[in-house]
Subunit: 305 residues, 2 copies
């Protein structure tokens, strides 16, 4: 039988949340994740796990939420306007890691499940993905990240990696800066290919690929020496992360507009951020190379190395 | 004659920009404003004057722009959808000051003029206002600020201050935080009351009230002793300023969407900002009093003292 079962997804997501926290804890034993359990007045609940002040991660957040309502907001279904106003249940795990060392990239991942009921057949889908935002770029890290993305997709069809790699580049794009947020990864939505069991398997595979890939990069870069120049550049570049999340990110904007838990939604924002009017990196510097080379859509599997 | 004359407005706005810079320079002689002249590919130009590293102001920006186009974007005329698609000219001066001392408030002001041509009669209006965002609240500062606002409006009608004071409270409101951005001031738009000469006079009167009122507060608070606690609270509260500008501010969002000059638009963002998950001020502290008392709409003219 291939009947969609939200309870199975919920159980897996809660386990998944714990597994990501455990993986980050293995990299950075000083991390002490709290767990805030919250209720949504409109229906549903969540567990927000956050911490700051680790040795490797300056700030980390891994959020689980499972909310429902009697009327799906129109803004939640840009692709399927006919579903607006129907009862829904949306659940997911979302995480963002802001490392201390500027040579370590920031990363984000999300796995979510949506079920929409009401008149006619019920509709459901998975969404999610992961993406990497370096301050100082390393082609080998981007290549390894995309190889892991490709490997996670492969068992479910060779068409999936190129499709969702491209969607990731398109989604995490700052139009007002003409740059991508980072070196990309995967971004999928409205995914129900092959029925519930297979689609759930795909979402799980993507989810499971995230933390080990990211942990490997953290282990490689965490001890790179840096000074005030790199730290200041990191704080400056974190401004772009804020700009993306508050101007473009659908999850953030929709969450805040629909009365989501503000502190959980904005957990994604970096701990310390700097803006400087009209700052330009020195030509030929690693800081200039970030935007010139890394923050453009690239076929990473055939790049660098 | 009472024919609207954009050139007179332009000339006044350029003088006004210089007068605000001069007023800030008198408070903080270390401020060294640069002047970046830019052209807009779609039509128009501007002068962005920014500086950072003053003794009193950590970052300051005073922008002039005068842009035109053949099709007014729909997002620019929420109140008058029938004007979308017509030729337009939009000019204004916009300024934001981020002080160093946490006992000094941040302030923002804007004076703008819009003319829309095309078939039928031409349409024009003024917009603008000013508002104050304290980190540590002082009722006497809020009262003085609102008295200056009232005095600027008075010669043009007793109905204007209450009306635009209320619009300011409504506009500078962070729904996801249930708090106002600051203690308000004035916010007006679509203003053409009494014809061009009178409406222009009102816009000038509001504009001229801003810098002296703000300078008086800076002079009063600039030497207040503070420590790490106050500095950290200031950086934390600056996060709210970023949230408002990127999530809600129509000028910012419209400017970025319509291909405005990104660095000029985002000059409003604070120099250094901090986010901390679920931080709560100590009950009864001045930090708690900010949100509990100051960041709610209040009838400041009859308050405090």
């Amino acid at each position: 039988m291939d009947t969609p079962d939200p309870e199975i997804v919920r159980t897996w997501l809660l386990d998944y949340q714990e597994s990501v926290i455990a993986e980050m804890h293995a990299v950075d034993p000083k991390l002490a994740f709290g767990a805030d359990r919250w209720q949504r007045p409109g229906g549903g609940s969540g567990v927000s796990c956050a911490c700051s002040g680790g040795d490797v991660l300056e700030k980390a957040g891994v959020n689980f939420s499972d909310v429902h309502g009697i009327q799906l907001p129109a803004s939640a279904t840009a692709a399927r306007p006919e579903l607006a106003g129907r009862p829904f249940r949306a659940m997911g795990v979302s995480m963002v890691m802001h490392p201390r060392n500027p040579y370590c990239p920031t990363s984000h991942a999300n796995i979510r499940f949506m079920a929409v009921g009401g008149p006619g057949e019920s509709v459901w889908w998975f969404g999610g993905g992961f993406d990497l935002t370096p301050y100082y770029g390393f082609a080998e890290d981007a290549v390894a990240w995309h190889r892991a993305a490709e490997a996670a997709c492969a068992p479910f069809g060779a068409h999936l990696y190129p499709k969702y790699k491209e969607e990731c580049d398109r989604y995490f794009y700052l139009r007002h800066r003409h740059e991508t947020r980072g070196v990309g990864g995967l971004f999928f939505d409205d995914f129900s290919e092959g029925g519930f069991a297979k689609a759930f398997g795909f979402a799980q595979s993507v989810g499971k690929a995230y933390a080990p890939s990211y942990a490997a990069i953290l282990r490689k870069r965490r001890d790179t020496a840096y000074g005030e120049r790199e730290r200041q550049f990191q704080l400056y570049r974190r401004g772009r992360y804020v700009e993306f999340n508050l101007l473009y990110d659908r999850g953030t904007v929709f969450g805040l507009q629909s009365g989501g838990r503000t502190e959980s939604i904005l957990m994604s924002l970096p701990p310390l951020v700097r803006w400087e009017y009209n700052w330009q990196p020195e030509p030929g510097s690693p800081e200039a190379r970030l935007t010139e080379y890394f923050l453009k859509p690239r076929d990473w599997l055939n790049e660098g190395a």
